[in-house]
């Protein structure tokens, strides 16, 4: 991979092996502060291994991870004070109250005794479980347990939060609440990486996408980033009334590819150039077509993921 620009998280040349398997192969990337990165990839792609290496729970064969200026494998304890992590299979101390769970976690993360209660209450309030402080963790519903688990991960107010499949098993309402919490944490300046299979929900709050496949980064970009000069975009045209000339007119335009038309609706790929788009629209209007809609097709996170993974699959 190429050089990595400094960020809140820097991963450089990470290599991790299991017996007989290379799980991460020269992985490098950087994550900017106060962003939410959606970590996506097929099962077995290396997402959890990557998160565990970043959390200093697993030691890589080669490479390094720097979080907020600290090499996490050189200074695991110090870096843990700045990080929160929620594993995909997490547990809680069922016989402890929510308050004690949070105060223990704060103490274990090195929070001063005088601040523990305050931070525990703040984390509970953020996760909307502050009215259940005296309830035992074992009596909470699944959604509330998930909130408590995340509250534990953020109770010491880390600068970086790593979440591995945090929404699995949650109902839609709880997922929406989780999205709101993550957005709020980001607004507070936290840098978050979320691994999930549910890409549609990641779309709601992610600012960046990181796709891992076969132990390698296959795509890492900002979801709202400006297109590079040579980028191509998919454009959609919808007519008010069916016109069989639609496809023919489009095919005569220079630089259009992947044209797909049914006479009423058409899609095509062209250079990401506003002037060129305007020229195509003018051609359609000049031909007398009743253009009702003309614009860029909004690519969902899922579409981007499938396009990238699918392209790779076709090429394989």
């Amino acid at each position: 991979m190429g050089s990595v620009t400094p960020g809140m998280i820097q991963v450089e040349g990470l290599v991790f092996d299991y017996p007989g398997l290379r799980a991460l192969d020269d992985v490098s990337f950087a994550v900017e502060p106060a962003t939410i990165t959606a970590l996506a990839g097929p099962n077995g792609a290396g997402k959890s291994t990557l998160l565990r290496c970043m959390a200093a729970l697993a030691t890589p064969f080669a490479g390094r991870v720097v979080v907020d200026g600290l090499d996490v494998h050189e200074e695991p304890r110090a870096s843990h004070r700045r990080m929160g992590f929620l594993a995909d299979f997490y547990g809680l101390y069922d016989d402890l109250s929510v308050r004690r769970c949070l105060e223990y976690k704060a103490a274990a993360q090195g929070v001063a005794a005088a601040l523990r209660r305050q931070l525990a209450e703040r984390a509970a309030k953020r996760m909307n479980i502050d009215e259940r402080m005296e309830q035992k963790a074992g009596t909470l519903s699944r959604g509330l347990r998930q909130r408590l688990a995340i509250a534990q991960a953020i109770v010491h107010e880390p600068r970086v939060l790593l979440l591995d499949e945090p929404a699995s098993g949650l109902d839609p309402e709880a997922r929406a609440a989780l999205a709101g919490v993550l957005r709020a944490l980001r607004q507070d300046g936290m840098t978050i990486i979320v691994s999930s299979h549910i890409l549609a929900e990641l779309q709601d709050y992610s600012t960046h996408m990181l796709i891992v496949d076969g132990g390698r980064i296959v795509e890492h970009r900002a979801l709202d980033a400006e297109m590079p000069a040579d980028a191509r975009q998919r454009v959609v045209v919808v007519l008010a009334a069916t016109d069989p000339r639609l496809g023919e007119i489009l095919s005569r335009q220079e630089g259009l590819t992947e044209i797909d038309s049914d006479g009423m609706r058409a899609g095509f790929v062209m250079a990401a150039d506003a002037d060129r788009r305007q020229a195509v629209l003018r051609a359609l209007m000049d031909a007398g077509l009743s253009v009702a809609e003309f614009g860029l097709e909004r690519q969902s996170l899922q579409d981007a993921y499938l396009a990238r993974i699918g392209r790779k699959g076709e090429g394989a």
Partner: protein, 466 residues
């Protein structure tokens, strides 16, 4: 209050108000019942003693073994490893906190026992008795705790079997710590109240008590070191080497006077260090996980000249084996193996076990063969049962086969299986040399197959941890 967070969490979970009330009520009822039935304080004392052993030793070793295993099975271990707690804080917080209720109940038993002496007894005797009982329970718990961490590193997903095995190891430590294995020590006479250690005559009870607490401390250190590894701290093998040296000195203390009395005519001080190094080599070999990935890291660190990282990855058997080579080298021209222990002297009586340079060369060669065999099996596809398989192979090689050869009248054949001098340097050294060479060739082949497809060691830049 700045109490150890791990200790405090365990106290919250273990010392619930209900338990705090129930324990004295239940135990008090039991002791009262014994008194009402027998009207004999001696019986109450016996009951308190048994209750102490059941609670502090039997239950205590189980609780100590479960303290980490429960976190793993409950899914909270990753959260703990992500904490900012140091290894020592985590270790004693778990060991003391996880067994806090056990100790609450055990101390009640101990107080009842010491309050009901059979004869008017000096306070110092009572104190000594209490110190012995406390040490007995502590060594069991400390060993069970350390063993559970060792098993965790070997098989992170398993829970029940490692807990049971850890508890068994803890109980064996209790038996050993209280002198239960003294019959194995040829210079520890059961009919004598004194034992000779480094020329000093020491009361057997005194030495047992002192040894008990010293080994308890070593078990606690062992648990701490394993916790360091679990929490991703880099550890060099100095503590392991220190323990090896301590054990050599400790064991040699029993033998020095005995060997002097035997007047073998040659220096023999290296015999105990050699025996200890041999035992520690095999202990390290079987106790540690032998993940090929870790060995590849080690090889890469060595090739890359990253000495600090290499030391952090050093397999425990390796420094112990180096001590074997050192002791065997120093022992050249010394006395033979059969002289220092009557058990070895009676084994295969027709075979010469007397001074032999050849034996001291054959011994490390046999060990090299064994190490290669264990690693060969572990580097294979099904490495989970590799140690058990290796153990069976080695048992067959060292016990039934030489016995069969000897019973068939093939007096020189045992040197194929054992480091014994059967009359000539060639027949003593060549067999283990060939066996070790063959196993090393097989091991090298398996290593190549197992690491095929991975980045060639040296191309990938190992993490620079130093």
């Amino acid at each position: 209050m700045n109490l150890n967070p791990e200790l405090r969490r365990n106290l919250w979970l273990q010392l619930t108000p209900q338990r705090l009330v129930a324990a004295p009520l239940v135990l008090g009822t039991v002791f009262a019942a014994v008194w009402l039935v027998f009207h004999d304080s001696d019986k109450v004392r016996t009951a308190a003693t048994w209750a102490f052993y059941l609670i502090a030793v039997l239950w205590g070793t189980k609780r100590a073994a479960e303290s980490v295993a429960e976190e793993v099975s409950g899914g909270t271990w990753d959260g703990q490893r992500m904490s900012a707690l140091g290894a020592w804080t985590m270790s004693w917080g778990k060991l003391v906190g996880g067994t806090s209720f056990i100790w609450y109940a055990a101390v009640i038993c101990l107080l009842v026992r010491e309050a009901t002496p059979t004869l008017p007894t000096l306070l110092s005797v009572l104190m000594r008795d209490a110190v012995l009982l406390l040490g007995t329970a502590l060594i069991g718990q400390a060993v069970a705790f350390a063993a559970s961490l060792m098993f965790l590193r070997r098989a992170p997903a398993a829970r029940r079997l490692p807990v049971t095995l850890s508890q068994i190891l803890g109980l064996l430590a209790v038996i050993a710590g209280t002198g239960g294995f003294h019959w194995l020590n040829p210079v520890w006479r059961s009919d004598s109240s004194l034992v000779n250690w480094w020329g000093w005559s020491i009361g057997t009870d005194d030495l047992t008590l002192a040894s008990l607490w010293v080994f308890t401390a070593w078990a606690a250190v062992c648990g701490y070191r394993l916790m360091r590894a679990e929490l991703q701290f880099r550890s060099w093998p100095w503590v392991w080497l220190s323990f090896a040296v301590f054990l050599m000195v400790y064991v040699e203390g029993f033998l020095s006077d005995r060997l002097r009395q035997l007047d073998l005519g040659r220096p023999s001080w290296w015999l105990a260090p050699l025996a200890v190094a041999v035992v520690l080599t095999y202990a390290g070999l079987f106790a540690e996980g032998k993940d090929i990935v870790r060995y590849r890291w080690f090889a890469a660190a060595l090739r890359g000249g990253a000495l600090s990282r290499a030391l952090g990855l050093l397999p425990l058997w390796l420094p112990a084996f180096a001590l074997v080579l050192l002791a065997a080298g120093l022992g050249q021209g010394g006395t033979g193996l059969g002289a220092w222990h009557p058990l070895l002297g009676t084994f295969l009586p027709d075979v010469t076990l007397t001074p032999s340079t050849s034996v001291l060369i054959a011994l490390p060669l046999f060990m090299l063969r064994d190490i290669a065999l264990v690693l060969y099996l572990n580097f294979g596809g099904r490495s989970q049962r590799a140690d058990l398989g290796a153990f069976v192979y080695l048992w067959v090689l060292y016990f039934p086969l030489p016995g069969i050869a000897y019973s068939l009248g093939l007096v020189t054949l045992p040197s194929v299986f054992l480091p014994v001098d059967t009359g000539g340097a060639l027949s003593t050294i060549v067999p283990p040399l060939l066996e070790a060479a063959a196993m090393l060739v097989l091991l090298r082949r398996r290593w190549r197959v197992a690491t095929r497809g991975a980045l060639p060691v040296g191309q990938a830049v190992p993490r620079q941890m130093d």
